[in-house]
Symmetry: C2
Subunit: 336 residues, 2 copies
DNA sequence: CTGAAAGCGCTAACAT
DNA sequence: ATGTTAGCGCTTTCAG
């Protein structure tokens, strides 16, 4: 087999196993010539370090776990890719799992992550309050950062987008295009993004004197968009959706109802999925800086890891980092 | 920390570490009373086995790697979820990576998987021929199964859908609805699914006396659907797309071109993504049995793992399993 | 049936 | 600068 061990390399290079280790990892004092020699031998033998052995000894697996509510959500899929990319460049790997919005399952997966000795966890909490206690307790025993949503105030480190700002861009843009009445379709109070986007929408529309004809809030998916339109009475100037999946659903339902977009009613989404550029008309949306979100999450996580274990240890209420990135509106056919 | 080790459990239970191990894993002869006692102590101490230690000793990590060309593809995302589910119920975890259709990257990820001592790998090969050699060689050193596509004939175990049958269902259905001319948009020769679906389409349309007005083949994504429609001259009775993403793109482009679906032209997809039920009209498509595919892939993989290491060892040309599941047509608005 | 002991592959003191 | 050695947490002979 290709199972050549460090021991083999050391023997072939005529040095001790300790020296071989140092030469390969570059962690101790070794003569330049020795390093070169060992490296060469290792390569010619096709030596690949056994990460398990390394992990056991170092107490670190170089693996991070990622837990999202729903793998099929294209927004999460996109962010997972970016995270994997970031990790890889640090020599780490990605373990994924989805919680399916099930707190029990969420806990289960955390437990497994823990047994695997992951370096840390990046989580998109399934629920706004129900996940809080769990996440708080996990944070105590391993490095953790929340991405996209948080489970409650001060629960743990968080990286996400400024939803208020994004929603503001949407409503002001629509207002600028003459919209004076709006209908809102969003996620419910069960996620922080759901709450933040809704609150921002309400605040800004009020400030601009926009008449809110109604709202429908359930989940971040197609069906919600469809139901939202079905439950919509009066036809507003614009239907503001809290994410792109909802907007997609709404678009289809409006079509079915014989309403033309944007002539009869404008539609907006949130997230900036590629999908929004495919349908006709293309959907105006707020683009999340996926790559920056991923980079930032990984940075914050490794900040904790390297800054030593659990940040909540003694201090009880250590300062949790909260990074808010700024999204950008992308105007398209659904609003003009 | 919660880092209670087997050693702690053994001491607390008043037995040796060996006995504790046997009691917990159930792998040796231990008195029933001892087992119960040890288990109880373990639970009360909150003992969780350190998977790294286990893996090092057993030489198996209980982790499988999954490599797909593109994480954001909803079809892959869906299948990844099902795989994760299957693995979890076997006590294993999922390491994911995407190759981004880059053979170098594909190789790189395999290497890492190997170092991690994964039990095996499930791969959706990036390319039909370019990936063949790599996969063949990986198969020699670790359990591997190809999913959805294969890299070449006889390269390694494979689990996928019967593309010929699916395409047959589509064309016959369209023919039954009066379509006599068709335009094909698909993936290129670079994937086995691209080839199979195209060939099946050609064979069946020929047999039914259908006039093929043209074809456009590039990649399995939205853009291809859009370009395909742009390059389409004469308007056929139906546009047959090799997957749902292409169909989505085609639908949008047809709309933009002022053609109504299904009145002016019918459209079909392949895969059965939820997305096809959201747009208006909903898209007729061939549904892949995602869950069965995942189950089957995991079964085949563990068959290899448990049947001992590398199947290609001596035999040189051992029989590769090839599982073909049957997909099912779902008719919808885009064809009536 | 249970205890003792030998490592899995690797790193990090500690010697030399 | 390099060799030696002691484990990381666990499973598994091998004795008893």
């Amino acid at each position: 087999m290709g199972d050549v061990t460090l021991h083999d390399v050391a023997r072939a290079a005529g040095v001790s196993i300790g020296t071989a280790s140092r030469a390969l990892t570059g962690r101790g004092r070794v003569a330049a010539a020795t390093v070169e020699n060992v490296r060469e031998v290792a390569k010619s033998l096709g030596y690949k370090p056994n990460l398990i052995g390394q992990a056991l000894r170092r107490g670190r697996a170089n693996v991070v776990g990622m837990l999202v509510p729903h793998l099929e959500n294209p927004f999460f899929a996109g962010i997972i890719h970016e995270i994997e990319e970031q990790l890889f460049s640090r020599g780490a790997q990605l373990l994924v799992a989805d919680s399916r919005w099930d707190p029990a399952r969420e806990e289960e997966r955390f437990r497994i992550f823990r047994s695997t000795q992951v370096d840390g966890v990046i989580v998109v909490p399934a629920w706004l309050d129900r996940s809080a206690e769990l996440i708080r307790s996990v944070r105590k025993i391993m490095p953790l950062v929340q991405l996209d949503r948080y489970a409650g105030p001060g629960v743990a480190e968080f990286v996400g987008v400024d939803n208020g700002d994004g929603m503001k861009q949407v409503v002001e843009y629509l207002h600028g295009r003459g919209a004076r009445s709006m209908y809102f379709i969003g996620g419910d109070r069960a996620t922080s993004t759901g709450v933040e986007r809704h609150e921002a929408f309400m605040a800004i529309s009020k400030r601009l004197g926009i008449r809110v004809t109604g709202e429908y809030r359930y989940q971040f998916n197609f069906e919600t968009g469809i139901s939202g339109v079905e439950k919509m009475g009066e036809v507003p100037d614009a239907v503001v959706c809290a994410d792109d999946l909802i907007a997609l659903g709404a678009l289809g339902a409006l079509n079915r109802r014989g309403l033309r977009v944007p002539e009869d009613v404008m539609v907006t989404g949130f997230d900036g999925l590629p999908l929004t550029r495919v349908v006709e008309p293309q959907i105006t949306t707020v683009c999340q800086p996926t790559q920056e979100l991923a980079r930032s999450a990984v940075n914050v996580l490794y900040g904790i890891i390297e800054g030593e274990g659990s940040p909540g240890d003694e201090s009880g209420n250590a300062d949790e980092t909260a990074v808010r990135l700024v999204p950008r509106l992308r105007a398209a056919g659904s609003t003009r």
